[in-house]
């Protein structure tokens, strides 16, 4: 059953900004990552799902209801985390959470308390004085406390430290086990990699790919920085195995897919040090979809 249906929406803000003919669906119980670089149109799409903005063309529906016309009806079963944190600054964190709960017509605050404990959030102080990470936690509590069946999360882990990011991934897994339908935008691979069943990739306002997580992981490269014993070995390795000789004894190599043969080839050379990083989303796009279109 389709919970979220985005069908051929266009919202043109001029000079290439906006979204163009975007189509994707989220099925019941699915966790979908909405992936794209900054400014790709993720938030623009989410605003249309929230009924903040009306598409110029196409339609957005949640549970079969038009997102603009029926927004207040849809909100009854939706938890939302905005991409930009901006609360009523004059309130304390606790007051704000309680206010949002009341606005949602919730009677119990047990779930909110549970979440605050889980994220080790002390929301006594005024929001104005909170760090970005703390504000993000307040936002997360507001989105999840209602135990809604649908969750729309715009860059949920921004501002969180790695420990809290792990906690967030844990939370998503739990919610997924409960059968929640989740759409979550991100510009970070790691975040969606660990949580999502499927990803929708958007770039420059257009959907470039809708894919399963596995295929994405298979195609994704790792970037290795290898330091050899001598400069000669480095240049030999670069020539034989492909890779960029950075000068000195360091070679950078990008590896996707066949990791085993790379490691085995490398084993034949005297290696002094090795460093690895994951490919960024931008690099991934460059690799698969070419450079910036003008």
């Amino acid at each position: 059953m389709r919970i979220i249906e985005v069908s051929h929406i266009t919202k043109d803000y001029g000079s290439g900004k906006g979204v163009f003919d975007v189509t994707f669906n989220v099925e019941k119980g699915e966790v979908v990552g909405f992936l794209g670089p900054n400014g790709a149109g993720k938030t623009t799409t989410i605003r249309q799902l929230m009924g903040f903005v009306r598409p110029d063309k196409g339609s957005v529906r949640i549970k079969g209801m038009d997102c603009f016309k029926k927004s207040s009806e849809i909100q009854k079963s939706l938890g939302y985390l905005p991409g930009e944190i901006s609360f009523m600054e004059d309130m304390t964190g606790n007051e704000f959470i309680k206010f949002v709960a009341n606005m949602k017509g919730m009677r119990e605050l047990d779930r909110a308390r549970e979440l605050m404990e889980f994220f080790e959030l002390d929301a006594e102080g005024t929001i104005k004085k909170m760090s970005k990470g703390m504000k993000q936690k307040v936002g997360i509590v507001c989105a999840f406390m209602q135990d809604s069946e649908i969750l729309i999360l715009d860059e949920p882990t921004s501002g969180l430290d790695p420990l809290m990011q792990n906690k967030f991934v844990e939370l998503i897994s739990k919610e997924k086990a409960k059968g929640k339908t989740i759409l979550m935008s991100s510009h970070l691979f790691e975040e969606v990699e660990r949580t999502c069943d499927r990803i929708v990739i958007i770039r420059q306002g257009r959907i470039v790919d809708v894919d399963s997580m596995e295929r994405l992981q298979k195609n994704k490269s790792r970037i290795f920085y290898i330091t050899f014993d001598t400069e000669k070995t480095a240049s030999d390795f670069a020539a034989a195995q492909g890779g960029e000789h950075m000068g000195g004894r360091v070679v950078t190599a990008s590896v996707s897919g066949d990791m085993d043969s790379f490691i085995k080839a490398l084993a034949a050379y005297p290696v002094r040090d090795m460093d690895m990083r994951k490919q960024t989303l931008e690099e991934f796009f460059l690799q698969f979809y070419g450079g910036e279109e003008q």
Partner: protein, 267 residues
Amino acid sequence: MISPVLLKREAKANWKLLLIILAVLTMYCAVIVIMFDPEFGDSIKALSETMPEIFNAFGMGNTGAVTLTGFLSNYLYGFLLVVLPLVFIIILANRLIARYVDSGSMAYLLATPNGRVKIALTQAVFLLLSVIALNLFVTLLLIIFSKAMFPGQLDCPRFIMLNTGLLGLHVFLSGLCFCASCIFNDTKRSNGVGAGLTIAFILIQMLSNVDDKLESLKYATPLTLFNPDNILAGEPGAGISFIILYITGLILFFIGIASFSRRDLHI
């Protein structure tokens, strides 16, 4: 139709602002009532004769007023009780919608099962209630001051009529500022248009009061519809003109809410 939770939150967030404006109004009202002293009246009349334009500009030209009601009307209802509450209205109207949209916190209000019309209507009701409270306070304050200091000298029915007219003007000004707050995405433009227009109206009225040659300017400002002298004189047209203010004000609120519920919000 409206959200009591939001209404309560606004009361909590804005009571200080209301308190400040009430304190300022109390001070001015007290000073003017105390100034109603036949001798002092003479000296201020002499002063006004030396610079009639200035007194006219501030709507205080009718210094011949000898009754307490006339005196209050001349010194308070021509300018002070229009402009001071206007400052409050401009700030509050901007806070209630435009500031939430500008900062993005409107997203949290709309991410609840409360539709846009309900949110905007709640804010409009809050603004109207505040303005009514403010007017009620001023009316009662002046009646109490007058009764205490000059018993029997205030023409209560006429005075209440005058305040009903003033409330009409405030409803109109609130409608205008609220409408601007609903239509524009950022506080800069909301304030620019809301405050800009209302202040322009006041300046036009001041100009039209100064010089007979500029008198026709009064048709360019809706403030002319609130005419304290006509209300006190019991002219039948005065009532109709302030009813027009009430109606236009409410229409402006309605336009604001309609616009807010239809437009794209980039929050």
